[in-house]
Amino acid sequence: MATNINLETGGSVWKMHVKPGDSVEEGQELFIMEVMKMEVPYEAPAAGTVNAVHIAEGDVVEEGQLAIEIA
């Protein structure tokens, strides 16, 4: 089942740990946002393969934006 990970808030992308083709486990940290000087990690809600990554380190991004697709 495909899972889309959308951003909960705007901010900037601080660290990206995955790239398309990577297989990930449930709960694995995928990337870290920086919001209000806090580092906000995003985890994989389910195991799968990263299909697409739509954000890159340093990007200034908006709430709701599609970040990663896992299938």
């Binding site: 808030t9 919001v35 209000m36 000087k37």
Partner: protein, 515 residues
């Protein structure tokens, strides 16, 4: 001579009332994926418990011999019913008749719904779909109400001060029904079928020149983010489930305590993962909802208002079966800072708990008020002070767990008067977080250092060490410094301890909740 002729007429009218706006109107309602008001009521209530009031109200058209030619039922359906075996009042507009715009008897029935709830001291559920008054309706001068009629919102306000009021927007809801939708302790709107509007697209375009669809003006995406409506639901059925769930945590009225249920989650359950949930790296956020899941009775947390004021998390839950109000910070959203919206959400939430005498559990990770020009424009300090005063005046038992940060004026709101305070080793507290505070307080020292960055970090580390919770525990500034894994057992014991404090709180509160 019997009364057969008249009783036949009674039965005939009842049958006609059940047809609502007629076959065509009902089919049109179903085509749009919406239930009729009678279907909604039956789906909401326990099976076969609807006990209708005022079935015979409506407009009858008679021929010269007094025979019924047409009967148009009042377009508001109301009655008693039961949810989980507990009695309640339910009412709602019938959209298949005049688009829910009030007929004379329909309007009387709608007002009477609140009167009944307040009088019988039972929860009120309103399922809204309708447009309020229509200009066409004012053609009849007889609709005008007498000058000494009670204030239109008096019964609404009185119901809110006495009994739980839960509402659902099931289709388009505008004008007066929209005001009644939000005059509630909990409101939910169906994402697939509902809009909430002060005025619809046609009126807006004419007055403002703004061309928008109903969803753009007042869909769930708009109103769950601005706090108009508490929760969104996937569809109507989900909205009804959420209303039932919300009511399960509350007493039937303010003269009763909330129903304590049997709990199969062990009081002394200690979740191992609590030990690691707060990262040692102070800049790194964590998932507060996991803390709630691990501490509260399993599967008992029902979040209210998730889309609005998102740095604050509010909801209802159970602790060893006792219904409680839960308030926490979400450090993943704006670092958990108190915004104007977050303050408003928290204030309404405290008032809800105070009105129904629910103990409050607060999980604190509050870095302070949101700062910056937007925060100033939003009058954040006024909304925040309002919340702090509400906490200060609340009489319900209150326990606060200092999970991480507790800073500035904003943190004061997270502690009720005479709160029971537990601190985790990760607790930090002070007038403001070191990162901002050090840069301001030591700006000369930092500027004059050979390596200003290193100096700032050195000072930050020194100040952070001073914010340790150990001296606070030694000074009896907190009740207990605890191992995070002990949070559930400690709070369960507290819940047991406060039981004698709950019955004396019964009755209306000094201040009631307002929207």
């Amino acid at each position: 001579m019997t009364w057969k002729e008249e009783t036949d007429k009674i039965h005939q009218r009842r049958e006609l009332a059940k047809l609502q706006g007629g076959e065509k109107a009902v089919a049109a309602q179903h085509r749009k994926g919406r239930m009729t008001i009678r279907e909604r009521i039956n789906a909401l209530l326990d099976k076969n418990t609807f006990d209708e009031i005022g079935m015979g109200a409506g407009d009858a058209e008679l021929d010269e011999d007094g025979n019924l030619v047409e009967f148009s039922p009042a377009n508001y359906v109301l009655g008693f019913g039961k949810i989980d075996g507990r009695r309640c009042i339910v009412g709602g507009e019938d959209f298949t008749l005049k688009g829910g715009s009030p007929s004379a008897a329909g309007q009387r029935k709608s007002v009477y719904t609140e009167d009944l709830a307040a009088k019988y001291r039972i929860p009120l559920i309103r399922l809204h779909e309708g447009a309020g008054g229509s200009v066409g309706g004012t053609k009849k001068a007889s609709l005008s109400s007498p000058v000494n009629e009670p204030h239109r919102f008096r019964s609404v306000a009185e119901a809110m001060a006495r009994v739980p009021v839960a509402t659902g927007a099931m289709g388009a809801v505008a004008g007066m029904p929209a005001a009644r939708l939000v005059a509630s302790h909990f409101s939910v709107m169906s994402k697939s079928t509902a809009q909430v509007l002060i005025a619809g697209p046609a009126v807006v375009q004419r007055a403002m020149g703004e061309k928008k669809t109903k969803d753009e003006l007042g869909g769930a995406d708009v109103h769950t983010k601005n706090g108009t409506v508490d929760n969104a639901s996937e569809d109507e059925a989900d909205a009804l489930i959420q209303i039932r769930k919300f009511l399960s945590y509350l007493p039937s009225n303010v003269w009763e305590n909330a129903p304590v249920t049997a709990c199969d989650d062990a009081q002394d359950r200690q979740e191992e993962a609590l030990l690691d949930i707060v990262p040692r790296d102070r800049r790194r956020a964590f998932d507060m909802r996991k803390v709630l899941r691990w501490v509260l009775d399993q599967e008992s947390f029902f979040e209210v208002g998730k889309g609005y004021g998102r740095s604050q998390i509010t909801g209802l839950a159970r602790m060893n079966g006792q219904p409680v109000g839960v308030w926490a910070n979400d450090g993943r959203h704006l670092a958990g800072a108190m915004t104007a919206n977050g303050a408003h959400k928290a204030r309404r939430f405290i008032e809800l708990c105070e009105t129904f005498h629910l103990p409050i559990l607060s999980f604190v990770d509050e870095p302070g008020f949101m700062i910056g020009s937007q925060a100033e424009r939003e009058a954040t300090i006024r909304h925040g002070a309002n919340t702090a005063l509400t906490a200060a005046m609340a009489n319900v038992p209150w326990a606060s767990v200092m999970v991480r940060r507790s800073f500035g004026v904003a943190q004061v709101a997270h502690y009720g008067h005479d709160a029971y305070v537990l601190a985790w080793p990760s607790a930090e507290t002070g007038p403001l977080p070191v990162e901002g505070g050090v840069a301001v307080a030591f700006h000369r020292e930092i500027a004059q250092a050979a390596d200003p960055d290193a100096k700032r970090r050195e000072l930050e580390e020194m100040m952070a060490a001073k914010q340790s919770p150990f001296p606070r525990a030694e000074a009896f500034s907190v009740h207990e410094l605890i191992d995070p894994r002990e949070t559930r057992p400690m709070l369960c014991r507290w819940i047991d301890r406060i039981q004698p404090l709950l019955p004396p709180l019964l009755g209306p509160t000094g201040f009631s909740i307002r929207p």
